[in-house]
Symmetry: C2
Subunit: 336 residues, 2 copies
Amino acid sequence: MVNRQFVLASRPDGMLQESNFRLVETPIPAVGEGEFLARALYLSVDPYMRGRLNAVRSYAPYVEIGQVMVGGGVAEVIESKHPQFHAGDIVNLPMGWQEYAVSNGTGARKVDASVAPVSTAVGVLGMPGLTAYFGLLDVCSVKAGDTVVVSGAAGAVGSTVGQIAKIKGARAIGIAGGKAKIEYILNECGFDAAIDYKSTSDYGAALREVCPGRVDVYFDNVGGPIADAVLGYLNAFARIAICGQISGANDAKPATGPRMFRHLLVARARMQGFLVFDFESRYAEALAQLTEWVRDGKLKYHEDIVEGFENLPRALIGLFTGENIGKRVVRVAASR
Amino acid sequence: MVNRQFVLASRPDGMLQESNFRLVETPIPAVGEGEFLARALYLSVDPYMRGRLNAVRSYAPYVEIGQVMVGGGVAEVIESKHPQFHAGDIVNLPMGWQEYAVSNGTGARKVDASVAPVSTAVGVLGMPGLTAYFGLLDVCSVKAGDTVVVSGAAGAVGSTVGQIAKIKGARAIGIAGGKAKIEYILNECGFDAAIDYKSTSDYGAALREVCPGRVDVYFDNVGGPIADAVLGYLNAFARIAICGQISGANDAKPATGPRMFRHLLVARARMQGFLVFDFESRYAEALAQLTEWVRDGKLKYHEDIVEGFENLPRALIGLFTGENIGKRVVRVAASR
């Protein structure tokens, strides 16, 4: 048996290319004491991955040339010498872009298949759902009556943010690109209003139209001119979570833009960068709540499933060109 | 008796000019029931005043053309029909740029002349001191061992920030312009290190030299390229208070600069704009503490006293050209 892996072939210079990855075949490693072997069912592609490809200091080590690309997956345990994981278990684990991985259990958790497809363990019931949960509830301290604006609103995180805002009695306004995404967040996710940034030249005017009472909470997934417009339209004591900056993710050089700090001063606003990993001690609480909302039909999700291990690089690149609605995952092997 | 006043003659277009103000003479108003008449001893000039001259939405109403310029003062009550204020009392009140003001007591407080000169009621024992206190302790949650960087470090607020940082067991690094200011913050205020931005072309390199362990707290009074350099050099979970943005205060158009939000994300940093007025319910607590520190010699202050009511506009303009060390006040009449 061989293990197919994608390794980093070269560092992207600007926009990510398929050629930055190389498909290699290696032997499947032996399972040691206290370890298990898992076979990938679904592998995740996420915007944060772009940052791991630059050789610059960040919150996590970057991927070395020749190293297997990092990422989360949903896998089936096929052999185990680990006391807590058994053959047949479905697990979510940081296995990287490969078909098989040996794990000692670090960062792995069993997936409950009774509520939703196991693929949601890297979606609404996994990292993106947790990111929305902690970002909106803890970082932004959302409360009933708030006007919440989220960018990247049709993505895995953004679509969950808007729905949690609604659950908490806030007003949800989504910013996304294109008619299909706008229809998705309005009709499927129940957002109160939406801005299609692709058909709007004046983001500020569009905001004033859909939220005349200004913005109390901004959950930023994109940065750039869209974020600028929202920051110019804050209410006093607004809260802003910096979750992602996808608009500049593939820029070869850092972009420039208008200086925005004066807006924070005038509004006495709080802006905070956050990573879901910093909330790890509370994952169980959050997953229980997210699972309950999904079970009760209060929290919808959409999966954009790309077929085939070999399509991982293309699937990731598509995140930055706006292809996906909801959570994009790559199906690697048939689920049970 | 006449009352001399400075009114706003025209809105500044870019850099503030003396001609934007006009000196007028008006009768001293009569004192009604529940009011008192006060004669200015010291009038304050502060960076925030520049923002009040633009006809744009901000946290406070802007000054109308023909209206008396706003500002705080220290004054002597010379006639009173108010139950709490009596002739001879020294008061701090928002009296504007005029020699005499009638007040109903709103925003007025009696000044204790036993600890420090009464002029400090608009300095270290007034709004600037309170701004440093709440900004560093509440907004930035400073703690022992933190590396604290403050810009505008030789000013009324900045010099107090650095000293409170030291009192709390943090390391204080000041950024200021020119040799005299650097000597003041190092030798008088006890900062651990300083950066003279006027003799440094690479702010980032200068920071790496004086704080190799990166920055935990940044108290920003200036914005612009200095703030950019600090934001590129944050520790995880850094806290940033946006207190002022004096570097761009006189710009006719909003400036552009590198986009900085990714730095907040990578560092999971919290940036917050704040106004001292939002802490009004805790002024008494803070003034008691600041007074104790001044009395014990732990908190030094320097006053830059400009003589003569007629010099108010020039004194204010000088704040933006970096003339002052410590708190600049204008002496209007002899103190008791």
